[in-house]
């Protein structure tokens, strides 16, 4: 009621567009003086910070209370596990989602991301653990008493109601007074640019328009967080890209927490402030898109996000902060190591194809390189895609731009695949990824992912 009253006091102007959305944002978040979560993204090379916390054995880490200010977390997932019979759908998920954040849960189908979302919405109850909304435990509260709203995968618009009634549904259900209903519905239809479509039925709209109705309908209750379950999956590529920008715009203008579930890594990288990468029920890593891409915590994350060359390696020792790894037979390389990489153990060396260079001669001291044979090469416009093979048979890929001044190469030629010392990364074998904090730039949130055998 307080929020509502303040929203009314602010006097939502009936003109649509940015001014409306600003006042909507004020209605949503009356605490104007509150600290915003900065959206500046991380810089590369934070290995020193990452490796600070490295307990062994996969024991749950003590919650870092000081680093998790309850006041600023809209949603806390507190050691939540969900079992369906013997099947563990979500395995001890533990993270916070901040106010105003665009948070994505990314992973292949069956990784537990949708189950996690359904637990936040209230359609499923956690087997163990707690889900808190604004600090209050919501785990046993039914969906219609939670201040979060969902955009469903197939939109789930009510086919027997027109667009206006669809959007007004939530307000009527929560007994909002009539003049307020029409004001809010019209505002929201303006925000999603469907003002002229109020009388249409969902069946008479295109996929993209239905998507925006679903968005308006879910936002009309001014939720504390908006949950989106693969909302762009049913759209074609062009529309999907347009809707990505549209979603981002709406999220920025309304300043609402978005929790976005997707299996599309590009989508997650494009839109998110932070991403939780999930696999087989576990959260493998949480971090900004840059952290996830450049500093993957596990082989799974490295392989799932973008393209990655993954070479079997053995850790041979340490040189200061760098590890010394043996790859491709008996080549020793100095490389940054992800947490959990133990001396003398098997590990995986990751190099992104776009960070690899090719040289005909042995690389100079500043570069790391291994000898390879060219298997195939394909001109792709901006880059040439090289397929290479090393001595043990592993196939590698390098995207080589015009700055690598190379002679004409053919399959069978011998070249050195090289990379800058910072471009490679040593990862622990999958399934044994060590605890690692997703480092937030502002230190406002600490997210801990712990390992499971």
């Amino acid at each position: 009621m307080l929020r509502l009253a303040r929203g009314l006091a602010q006097g939502i102007p009936s003109r649509i567009g940015v001014r409306v959305t600003k006042s909507l944002a004020v209605a949503l978040h009356p605490g104007i003086e509150r600290a915003k979560v900065p959206r500046s993204r991380g810089i590369r090379g934070r290995t020193a910070e990452v490796s600070e916390i490295q307990p062994e054995g996969g024991r749950p880490l003590p919650p870092l209370e000081g680093a998790r200010p309850e006041a600023d977390a809209v949603i806390s997932i507190d050691h939540v596990t969900k079992r369906f019979g013997a099947f563990v759908a979500v395995d001890d998920a533990h993270f916070d989602i901040a106010r105003g954040e665009f948070f994505s849960m990314l992973g292949p189908s069956g990784c537990g991301k949708t189950t996690t979302l359904r637990m936040i919405a209230g359609f499923e109850q956690p087997s163990t653990g707690e889900i808190r909304l604004d600090g209050k435990d919501m785990s046993r509260v039914p969906p219609y008493k939670r201040q979060v709203n969902t955009v469903f995968q197939q939109y789930a618009l009510f086919p027997h109601m027109n667009v206006w009634d669809n959007v007004a549904f939530g307000l009527r259900a929560t007994k909002v007074p009539k003049p307020e209903i029409s004001k809010r519905v019209n505002d929201l239809l303006g925000v999603v640019r469907l003002a002229g479509f109020a009388e249409r039925r969902p069946g008479q709209l295109s996929g993209g328009q239905q998507q925006r109705v679903a968005l308006a309908r879910a936002l009309v209750n001014y939720p504390r967080a908006l949950l989106l379950d693969e909302p762009l999956g049913a759209l074609d590529l062009k529309l999907r890209q347009a809707m990505q920008l549209e979603l981002k715009r709406i999220q920025r203008e309304l300043d609402i927490t978005f929790i976005f579930v997707t299996h599309d890594q590009e989508e997650a990288l494009t839109m998110s402030d932070r991403i939780a990468v999930m696999n087989e029920g576990r959260v493998e890593q949480i971090g900004t898109p840059e952290q996830i891409y450049h500093e993957p915590a596990s082989v799974f994350v490295a392989g799932f996000i973008g393209m990655a060359n993954l070479l079997p390696a053995r850790v041979d020792g340490r040189d200061g902060e760098l590890a010394i790894a043996r790859v491709a037979g008996d080549h020793f390389v100095r490389v940054e190591a992800a947490p959990g990489v133990a001396d003398g153990a098997e590990a995986t060396l990751m190099v992104r194809p776009e960070r690899a260079h090719l040289r005909v001669d042995e690389p100079p001291a500043g570069l790391i390189g291994i000898p390879t044979d060219v298997v195939d090469l394909v001109f792709q416009g901006p880059v040439v895609r090289f397929e290479l093979r090393i001595a043990d048979g592993t196939t590698l890929v390098a995207h080589v731009g015009p700055e690598d001044d190379l002679p004409l190469l053919r399959p069978g030629d011998r070249v050195w695949m090289c990379w800058e010392p910072g471009a490679g990364r040593l990862l622990a074998p999958s399934g044994h990824s060590a605890p690692m904090p997703g480092v937030d730039n502002t230190k406002e949130l600490s997210t801990i992912v712990r390992s499971h055998q």
Partner: protein
Amino acid sequence: MTALAPTTAPRREAMTGTVTSPSGRVGKALVNVMAVLALGYLFLPIFVIVLFSFNEPKGKFNAVWQQFTLENWLHPFSDTALTDALILSIEIAVLASLVATVLGTFLAIALVRYRFRGGSGVNFFLVLPLTTPEIVLGASLLTLFLEPHLVLANQQFTLGFTTILLAHIMFCVSYVAMTVKARIRGFDWTLEDAAMDLGASPSRTFFKVTLPLIMPGILAAFLLSFALSVDDFIITYFVSGPSTTTFPVRIFGQSRTATPPQINVLATMILVVSVSVMFVATWFGQRRQRRMGIS
């Protein structure tokens, strides 16, 4: 018959373009003959009912065509016993269908929506009344109603309105549940999730979202159940008792001593009403589909 003409005519034209061989032409003629015969087979009895409502019979039996009269239609309710029976039939049909539709709909939703222990058992018991011979059902219902110690806690029923109503509800529930089940099999249950997500309580969700969307199926089930109840003879004959007679039971009882043409008049009225209801239902259904934008 006239309604068929515009739909068959273009099809025949389309076929003449492709069928050229003499044997094909013979086959086409055969199909038409068979169609006319089949339709005649279906409609001839109904035609006779309507025709004989305009007959002026000599004697008590309206079985031989004598001459045309409007007398029967001017006094359709002159046989008061028959009229009372019809009114009773309609009362029972309305009540039984209402109760059966509510119960059957909830049963169908439960069976389609939720997986629960004993669900397949319930399914089996639903089909049972449909497959059991009516004569057996009727006989066993009679036993149930008259035997005070069997199940109903020393409650003995007087055969009459209550027993007929109970029996009709019993078999109508099965038909309603089967009909509604078939109609809601493709229902998108995430709509219920969406409604609750938006703050609607479970009951509001049911009345604002689920019920309006499955209403056509429920209406169809109600009409079917109404028709079955009005029509039922065998079970009703067992459980109606000596003083309470429904329309079919009355006609059967009368048929040995007399068949007044009012039987045909009332039957024709029922026919006209049910055909009109069917047309209205179809029209509403099409309009609704258009408005939902489903083509």
